[in-house]
Symmetry: C2
Subunit: 351 residues, 2 copies
């Protein structure tokens, strides 16, 4: 059989194409079976008798054979790739979600191909077109605010689609997330109940999810007849810790008797805390702070910071598990999953 391999190598060198690595035909020859049988043994061993399976396994490891995913994708019209679109890589939120996605995946054959939309619907559309052209096994996209065209593309995509991060009606296919509106509302209601009256909103980036948190905040304040447009301080600048202090100063300049802030995210909350420390503003007595996401540092900070804990990791994990279920033909309990959030009350809002 050494001869077989040697002669193969010979013919490889003579021929003008080819990658030089063993193909399924080489394995088949060595195992004394047809190529298609090797293909079956590799993809679903139950289709092949135990004896042949053993022969094939031996041949595979002897040659160090690894199937070519591109050839496989071309022949089966399906790439072992899940396309994942996130709006940002700076944002730790998406890092956590990505981690959940990878963990949910385990070490099967599926690969992740990620695209960064930079919060741009146009870029999202371009990337989806690009991803779909390779007929991925599934797509995971962030948010529910796709353009009309993008939605149509996804609807006609003939693979599982999961929209993540938000909770809402009418998903393209499946959806895993939570309600940002409710998150904003719950956080704000907590501040109201804790006795604060001049509650500001501090927000950066102001993407659709931030807008919904703001809407929740506003709805809570209006219900309590405490809303005042001057209380809202936002910017389109991407969020950074250092922006928190700046926005707090802006807010205080507009509303001198501000006694609490609900921050769009934890980075801003942390920046607000540091600014308060620096300016000698007592937290929570003169100023309460509530964040959003509940990063690890929130419960460690001094004083510890109240926040809305969001299921970022779990969203990624669930999304992938739903995809895997669908690909395996298993039934999905529900195509729409609300993973909820949790208000974590800490020192920063306890007057």
């Amino acid at each position: 059989m050494t001869d077989d391999i040697a002669s193969r190598d010979q013919s490889r060198k003579a021929s003008r194409r080819g990658s030089g690595r063993p193909t399924i035909a080489d394995v088949a020859k060595l195992a004394g079976v047809a190529a298609i049988t090797v293909s079956r043994a590799l993809r679903d061993p139950s289709l092949v008798s135990a004896e042949l399976r053993a022969e094939i396994d031996t041949a595979v490891s002897q040659l160090g054979y690894a199937p070519d995913p591109n050839a496989r994708a071309l022949a089966s019209s399906r790439a072992d790739v899940i396309g994942v679109l996130v709006p940002s890589l700076t944002n730790i939120v998406f890092a956590d979600t990505l981690r959940g996605i990878y963990d949910g995946l385990g070490d099967g054959p599926l690969q992740i191909q990620m695209g960064n939309t930079h919060y741009s619907p146009r870029e999202e559309e371009r990337l989806i077109r690009m991803f779909l052209s390779q007929r991925p096994s599934a797509m995971i996209v962030s948010g529910i605010d796709q353009t009309e065209t993008t939605r149509k593309l996804l609807e006609s995509a003939d693979c599982p689609i999961v929209q993540i991060m938000e909770y809402g009606d009418g998903p393209v296919d499946m959806l895993v997330g939570f309600s940002h509106f409710d998150g904003g509302k719950v956080a704000t209601n907590h501040l109201i109940e804790a006795g604060y009256r001049r509650i500001g909103f501090i927000g950066a980036r102001m993407d659709p999810r931030s807008q919904r948190r703001l809407a929740g905040y506003r709805s809570a304040l209006e219900a309590a007849q405490l809303f005042d447009p001057k209380l809202v301080t936002t910017t389109l600048t991407p969020s950074r810790v250092s922006l928190g202090g700046q926005l707090l100063s802006d807010a205080l300049a507009k509303v001198a008797d501000l006694d609490a802030v609900f921050c769009n995210n934890d980075d801003l909350a942390m920046g607000v805390l540091f600014e308060c420390q620096r300016a000698g503003i007592a937290v929570p007595h003169r100023m309460a702070i509530c964040g959003f996401n509940d990063l690890d540092m929130m419960h460690v900070a001094y004083p510890s910071l109240t926040s809305i804990r969001t299921p970022r990791y779990e969203i990624g994990r669930q999304a992938v598990l739903m995809v895997l279920d669908r690909l395996a033909g298993r039934p999905i309990a529900s195509p729409i999953v609300d993973l909820r959030f949790e208000l974590k009350i800490r020192e920063s809002t306890m007057r």
Copy 2:
């Protein structure tokens, strides 16, 4: 020509295979040229006359044609994919590097396929095998501590390879990073020069790069005859902000007169700061703190925290630019790039 399309659809439906989307043959027929000419016009327009190019462009947009990357990869033995291996997704360091990679890529045809090695050399090897089987256009891997087998795999891979994050000799192919040993040394020397004498090291995870920072720390202290094994407090647990405080307590239990800590990374440094605030330990007077990486929050903290600024984003960007240069056949200035770090001195180390 509508007939052409219609009849194509017909035959599609009748046939048993196929994706249902337009192929290069459809475009060729519509434009009245051979398929290979369309292929050329798409890959290198200069090979095709202006008239045909116009015909082809029209046909492409009329049909909404997008090339199938899988077929392309199979035919050309080269996938438009760059494999990227990172050890962790939790770590913000790699999020920044990833951002650099994506930004360096621009919006060409190249896609990123990422793998998470979880700091395991075995997993790294498995993933590299998997990635190489699709003959990627390039590979970017983290660190320089690959197993012997992994190195051999990469060496025989027939595509550009970039090792990132560290600076060192004898890369597999190309390398972009900085010296972690020097980083640890510079930070520690700064503390010594600032007058601190009982300088602790606090580290989590203790992957190879952390080990090198520790070695740099030790080398600086030994040169000043200040080293004491009790000063070193490490754990294999992954780093978290909340771990910083814990490790500081451990360190203080061993060394009561500890007057400074060099933290393996900024998360720990932040945790140490909060713990000091909570315990009433004055920073920097009774305790100096120096971090590593210089995340945005370091200069905002109160007191602001000294750190080593690392070129995380730039490492990713440079790595991709080098790959692109190589793929385009352009010369590379140097296959080994030291992107340096910078000591940022702030309030936390100024007694």
